[in-house]
């Protein structure tokens, strides 16, 4: 279009091109600003939702929390008051059982993948572990129901702990492999050079050196299963009283929050909020402890 204006001098043409260029530049600059604004809005929206959830949780939770909550058993329907002491204890029991199942398998697999496995096999196991991580938690519940509850003919703490434990396996495998791999190879070589067999090097040098990271991985996995409800619905099942043995149904905090939240009683709703705040604080504390632990103890990942 510019070229057809035969009469125009070079200066005029330059001017026209310049204005056209300026106009595009302006449009591009405005577009740039608009997108920056939209992207910031996205982040603000996320922050708003998070703060909304946390505010409700803390305000409702702390105002519902009282001493009874930590010391009393649940009251029967219709009676006010009562607490969730058995559910809190139950959650710790279940987590303890889960650690017994998840840690040996996860840690063993992680160490093997880092120290012994050939690359092809390691890649297959990593892939399977990652995929296993994505299996819905309720499916683990069904599996535990089939292999534990049906043969034992009873809902039990053991089956709940088993379900949570196998959920922890892929997470612990991946993190412990990662941290064991980070141990500098000089340490291994120094051990081997002294004539120490490889397995003793692994057990006495490599694993202790990676222990901080491994512990962190275990705690992060623990924090993730601590809030799981779905796999406990038909394994641990819940209990309004103290369980007397591990082969009986057991109460758990997330289960109790669920039961109370969907019940039609105001006092139970209050207790559900109280349970939720205790649960989230527990999860955050385990997580925070893990972060702190890795920051203060892990010598190899900090680059020193």
């Amino acid at each position: 279009m510019v070229c057809h204006q035969g009469a125009g001098t070079g200066d005029q043409m330059k001017g026209i091109i310049h204005t056209a260029f300026e106009r595009t530049r302006l449009r591009r600059a405005i577009w740039d600003r608009v997108m920056a604004f939209i992207l910031t809005l996205c982040a603000l929206l996320i922050l708003f939702i998070l703060l909304n959830i946390l505010t409700h949780l803390f305000v409702q939770g702390f105002s519902s929390l009282n001493w009874d909550f930590f010391t009393q058993l649940p009251k029967p329907v219709g009676e006010k008051g009562g607490g969730m002491v058995n559910a809190i204890a139950g959650t710790f029991t279940l987590l303890g059982l889960a650690v017994c199942v998840g840690v040996p398998i996860g840690l063993g697999a992680g160490v093997y993948l880092s120290e012994y496995a050939d690359q092809h096999f390691a890649q297959v196991v990593r892939f399977v572990a990652d995929v296993m991580n994505g299996i819905p938690s309720i499916v683990y519940g069904i599996f535990a129901y089939i292999v534990c509850v049906l043969p034992m003919k009873s809902f039990s703490a053991l089956s709940g702990g088993f379900a949570l434990g196998i959920m922890m396996v892929p997470m612990i495998t991946r993190t412990s492999e990662q941290f064991v791999r980070m141990v500098p190879s000089q340490l291994r070589e120094a051990g081997l050079a002294l004539g120490v067999p490889k397995w003793r090097v692994t057990v006495d040098i490599v694993i202790p050196s990676a222990l901080a990271g491994i512990t962190t991985g275990i705690m992060v996995a623990l924090a993730r299963v601590a809030g799981e409800t779905a796999p406990l619905l038909f394994t641990a099942f819940g209990n309004h009283y103290w369980q007397r043995s591990l082969t009986q149904p057991i109460a758990a905090l997330p289960l109790q929050v669920f039961t109370y939240a969907i019940a039609p009683f105001n006092d139970w709703h209050r207790q559900a909020w109280a349970g939720a705040i205790v649960l989230i604080l527990m999860v955050l504390m385990i997580n925070g402890w893990a972060q702190f632990y890795v920051m203060s103890r892990n010598r190899w990942s900090s680059g020193k």
Binding site: A109, P197, G227, T229
Partner: protein
């Protein structure tokens, strides 16, 4: 010669102990493989009665009648698809937008702080999202959002129908909130993995920041971001508690997002412990099998996409 014999004897001693240790340790990774295979076979063998009785029709039948012992999973499959897709529609733009903001726009300190908060969001157990959903989101949906949508977009079939607050839409929103941290953290990893030399070249050619992001970063990282989205889809499909608490538990197939619905995972959560007859239990386990297979497929796809960008496995689950 003697040194060599010594060497040999030491070697052989080490070899035996090492071989034993190695064999013992190998049990653990193999047990992971066996575990996944075991879950599959246990699910299949436990749902054989239902497989025999209903065959493939199980997936296409709308009937769910425990009394007449006639079961079909179509309404639940429909519910899972609808809630997951609407959740993705809501979560993907916001999540990817936030990830871009964190990786490219925000000052490092702000980015760090928001990333910590996003991790916090990911750490909240789903039953707590459900609690918040029941007492905050559902009343808000009933009094404000759904009437508003009904008024202005009511000509669409999606926004017609009853207004209880518990609905496909509420469940989709809670799902979106649950999956958005995963989309953010994985997309952020992917965006940060784009070599900065590409961006710098773009800037050197005079592009604006958005042009560099859109033309360079997003086109380089789109496969990985797609992986993040598919991973999030896997989460959404399997998410149980929060959805069960606010979807309304009503097995219907309807275009209306305001209608109470049901999903694969929530029917398991509600009915599994109460299943009395063998065929009822076996049908529920078959639903579990469907959930298992779909999540495996979705996750394999996601891992392939993410691994192809980051050139190997990354720790993406926080």
């Amino acid at each position: 010669m003697s040194a060599r014999t010594l060497d040999k004897s030491m070697m052989s001693r080490q070899d035996t102990s090492d071989i034993v240790f190695r064999r013992i340790l190998a049990v653990f990774p193999i047990s992971i493989l066996i575990l996944v295979a075991g879950i599959f076979f246990q699910l299949v063998s436990s749902c054989l009665p239902s497989l025999h009785k209903f065959g493939l029709g199980f997936l296409f039948s709308r009937v769910w009648d425990p009394v007449a012992e006639n079961f079909g999973a179509l309404p639940f499959i429909f519910g899972t698809c609808v809630t997951s897709l609407v959740a993705l529609l809501l979560a993907v733009p916001v999540g990817v937008g936030t990830a871009i903001y964190l990786a490219e726009y925000a000052p490092p300190k702000v980015s760090k702080a928001i990333s910590i908060l996003v991790d916090l969001l990911a750490a909240i157990p789903s039953v707590i999202y459900g609690l918040w959903g029941i007492f905050v989101l559902v009343p808000y949906m009933r009094t404000t959002v759904q009437p508003f949508l009904g008024k202005y977009l009511g000509f669409l079939p999606f926004f017609q129908g009853p207004n209880y607050g518990v609905s496909f839409l509420s469940a989709s929103i809670i799902l979106a909130i649950i999956i958005v941290p995963f989309i953010i953290s994985v997309s952020r990893e992917v965006i940060l993995a784009v070599p900065s030399v590409y961006k710098e070249s773009a800037y050197a050619l005079g592009t604006t920041r958005w042009e560099a992001v859109y033309d360079i970063v997003l086109s380089y990282g789109r496969v990985g971001i797609l992986g993040a989205v598919v991973l999030a889809l896997g989460r959404a499909i399997g998410e149980t508690m929060a959805v069960t608490m606010i979807i309304g538990n009503n097995a219907v197939i309807t275009p209306s997002l305001f209608s109470p619905g049901y999903t694969l995972a929530s029917v398991l959560a509600n009915e599994f412990a109460e299943a009395t007859t063998d065929i009822y239990l076996s049908s529920l386990i078959e639903i579990g099998l469907v959930l298992f297979l779909v999540s495996i497929i979705v996750n394999i796809l996601a891992r392939i996409l993410i691994w192809s960008v980051t050139k190997g496995p990354v720790q993406v689950i926080k």
